[in-house]
């Protein structure tokens, strides 16, 4: 077993643990902190189903963003949608036998072109961050670095078209990690770079603004029903004030 394989294999376990345990812990925290008052923003749905529809539209179409900043919406949506397509394409490395729909030509091709779309979106966001004075003002170094990190992931992934690696061996490595019977990771520079950056992203996820992903679902302005007059909505700590 090569040193590279051992390092990357261990890092994979470590990053996966941080990512999933970290997000699970955040979700636990968000879910257990009470929301003591009804604060939905209009148009606030009256039913749980209405809330589900609202969140669906926010998550899938970025509806609020569409109404507030068209360019940010365009670049942001392109990036996120491309991310999803790329994720589908990559499932072929982690499923064995490959899920039937993952091997469809359209899924694989879309996943490939998604890399360009992703780069377009990310560079658009970066340009906006640098050139719009209001956005530049609020940007911390980490805001640029996260964009650059993901641009790095997209670019290194795309470059593997020209610096190919042994895909079969790569898949053996991934499947080996999943079933705890390790095999060698091809040590091509572009692949190692690509994987390394992905691992870094996984590790910082639960400690950064990437928490917006679970956060959106817990946003009281978006996930509450407008039923304040129908029933009391009292938190445990607030009930204590009543005695």
């Amino acid at each position: 077993m090569s040193l590279v394989t051992i390092i990357y294999g261990s890092l994979f376990y470590f990053a996966t643990l941080i990512l999933f345990a970290g997000i699970a812990y955040r979700i636990y925290e968000y879910a257990t902190i009470p929301a003591p008052l009804k604060i939905p923003t209009p148009p606030a749905p009256k039913t749980k189903r209405g809330v589900a529809v609202r969140l669906f539209r926010e998550v899938v179409f970025f509806e609020s963003l569409f109404h507030s900043a068209k360019w940010t919406w365009l670049f942001g949506w392109l990036f996120h949608f491309a991310l999803l397509l790329a994720f589908f394409r990559h499932l072929r490395y982690a499923t064995d036998p490959v899920w039937f729909w993952v091997s469809w030509e359209i899924v694989q091709a879309a996943g490939h072109y998604a890399a360009y779309m992703m780069l377009l979106g990310l560079i658009g966001l970066l340009v906006r961050r640098i050139f719009v004075d209001r956005v530049r003002h609020i940007s911390a170094p980490s805001d640029y670095l996260i964009l650059i990190l993901i641009i790095g992931i997209a670019l290194s992934g795309l470059m593997m078209k020209w610096y190919p690696t042994d895909i079969f061996a790569l898949k053996q490595f991934i499947i080996g990690l999943i079933y705890f019977s390790w095999s060698e990771l091809p040590s091509d520079f572009m692949l190692l770079l690509h994987l390394g950056l992905v691992l870094l992203l996984m590790i910082i996820f639960p400690y950064s603004k990437l928490l917006h992903a679970p956060g959106l679902f817990f946003s009281p302005t978006r996930n509450q029903t407008d039923t304040a007059r129908d029933s009391r909505h009292i938190a445990d700590w607030a009930r204590k004030l009543e005695s």
């Binding site: 968000y30 604060i39 148009p43 911390a140 928490l211 917006h212």
Partner: protein, 499 residues
């Protein structure tokens, strides 16, 4: 107090987003609350010695009590979509008045003390130590937010800067730095029953005077009852309605509606104030205490329904919080929602053909409608989505012949704040108030120019007071702001019940 000299913003045909000017309004901070008012609210009288630790403790405490605070501090992607949505940014150009800029004042401290990267790599993630300068910035800029929630509507994560401002004010109060205007007023309500410190005999006098005025005008005995036990309806209205212009014309209108519909109603001297400034300072405990007066009055007067007069934030507290804070209201008539807005009452009566109008009585006016933020973005009316937008407009259309809405991007859920909400309606913030009114004034100017609009109706006591100042400042007439129920009162066809 006269408006101090400051550069007057220009009213433009189409509003544009200004380039930012750092620290443009850092100097704007309201007067601080004195010791006696702080302590009557349960806060230290002046900045405590170990204020840093105390503030961080309080922040930690609030982070466990309010999901909104925690999720919003974590979830901002610094995308900038909100940066041009705040009327205070548009009016002052100060980047700390961009909603995200305002949030970041607290977020950077949260990151420093409550997150891993902020503890170890503060520079990288924009985390800062809680210093006296930071506290001063908090005091300035969290009192330059009217908690209007316009940013929350536009933010892709639904981040509500009002929640952050409220938390920040609560933290500051807890270390002894409170705002004079809000805290004095809350003290008055606790002591006397209303924001103005108007005691029961004075209130009774005022209402009697009102009855005489209406009698002179209409020759009808419209009553404005106080503390009348066993009435059907308890009306809770902002105390400005008792004497301020144009508020009082609204109160006259409510009385006429009740009279004409034959409803028995009363005001209460115990709950002679709809306003609840406990919300502005982010204090659940104070907000609850103020809300309890209304429950007590309802029980004491043995009423069947509670109705609120025209007041924006009061309606937020009433519609969205009252049941939670002071419920359950199972002793009231279950046929009616608790509480109801006066507009809901009037609207229902119009639907049932109980009220008839002579619209020509308002023919001297071409009317537009200002959606007050707390009604538009933090509550509802009727039982349909968007009732808070349609019901007031339908009432206006039923009572006037000439109505025009302002630009779509400045009304309904996108409405611009008057510039004086959230506990900022004080003379020591006049510069901020006038600058913050700019986007609304620009939208108004457009309908004045395009449709000859002469009057703007509102259903919020704060909006009405604020516009009385801002209209004059921007070259309109100060009486161009009117109460919605003034239109109702003008046009209502009254017949003498006793005949």
């Amino acid at each position: 107090m006269a408006v101090k000299e400051f550069e007057k913003p220009e009213l433009k045909e189409y509003s544009d987003v200004p380039l930012l000017e750092k620290k443009a309004t850092a100097h704007l901070a309201p007067f601080k609350s004195k010791e006696e008012f702080q302590s009557s609210l349960g806060y230290p009288g002046e900045l405590v010695d170990n204020w840093q630790d105390a503030a961080l403790d309080k922040m930690g405490d609030l982070l466990k009590k309010y999901r909104s605070l925690r999720v919003y501090l974590d979830s901002c992607i610094q995308c900038g979509a909100c940066t041009d949505k705040c009327h205070y940014y548009l009016g002052t150009k100060d980047p700390s008045n961009m909603p995200v800029g305002r949030q970041n004042l607290l977020r950077s401290v949260y990151r420093r003390y409550f997150t891993l990267p902020g503890k170890y790599f503060p520079k990288l993630v924009g985390a800062v130590d809680l210093t006296k300068e930071v506290l001063d910035d908090w005091y300035s800029y969290y009192h330059q937010c009217s908690q209007c929630r316009r940013c929350a509507v536009f933010c892709p994560m639904g981040i509500d800067t009002a929640e952050i401002s409220m938390a920040a004010r609560e933290i500051m109060d807890s270390v002894g730095v409170g705002q004079k205007y809000c805290n004095e007023i809350i003290g008055k309500v606790h002591k006397i029953g209303n924001n103005l410190g108007l005691p029961e005999p004075a209130l009774a006098d005022t209402l009697e005077g009102l009855e005489e005025d209406v009698k002179d005008e209409t020759d009808i005995d419209v009553k404005y009852p106080l503390d009348q036990k066993d009435s059907d309806i308890l009306l809770v209205t902002p105390s400005a309605d008792f004497f301020a212009e144009p508020h009082v014309d609204g109160l006259i209108g409510y009385g006429k509606v009740f009279h004409q519909a034959g409803l028995s109603w009363t005001l209460s001297s115990h709950a002679s104030e709809a306003a609840n400034f406990g919300m502005f300072i982010g204090s659940y405990a104070n907000m609850r205490k103020l809300a309890m007066r209304i429950r007590e009055a309802a029980l004491d007067l043995n009423v069947k329904r509670i109705v609120f007069g025209e007041c924006g934030h009061a309606w937020r507290v009433a519609y969205s919080f009252l049941n939670t804070l002071a419920g359950p209201f199972d002793f009231l008539d279950p046929k009616y929602p608790v509480p109801q807005h006066i507009c809901e009452v009037t609207y229902d009566l119009i639907q049932k053909n109980v009220l008839q109008f002579d619209k020509s009585a308002n023919d001297d006016m071409v009317v537009t409608y200002h959606d007050s933020c707390n009604v538009a973005r933090a509550s509802n009316m009727g039982d349909v989505i968007g009732g808070q937008f349609t019901i007031p407009r339908d009432i206006i259309k039923a009572t006037t012949n000439h109505f025009y809405d302002m630009d779509e991007s400045t009304i309904k859920e996108k409405t611009f704040c008057c510039g004086g909400g959230g506990g900022l309606l004080t003379d020591d913030l006049m510069e901020l108030r006038m600058k913050g009114a700019l986007p609304r004034m620009e939208a108004l100017k457009r309908v004045v120019d395009d449709y000859g609009v002469t009057h703007m109706a509102a259903i919020c006591a704060i909006c009405k007071s604020q516009f009385s100042k801002a209209l004059g400042y921007y070259g309109f007439e100060i009486d161009q702001i009117i109460s919605l129920h003034q239109l109702v009162g003008n046009a209502l066809i009254m017949n003498k019940k006793e005949l």
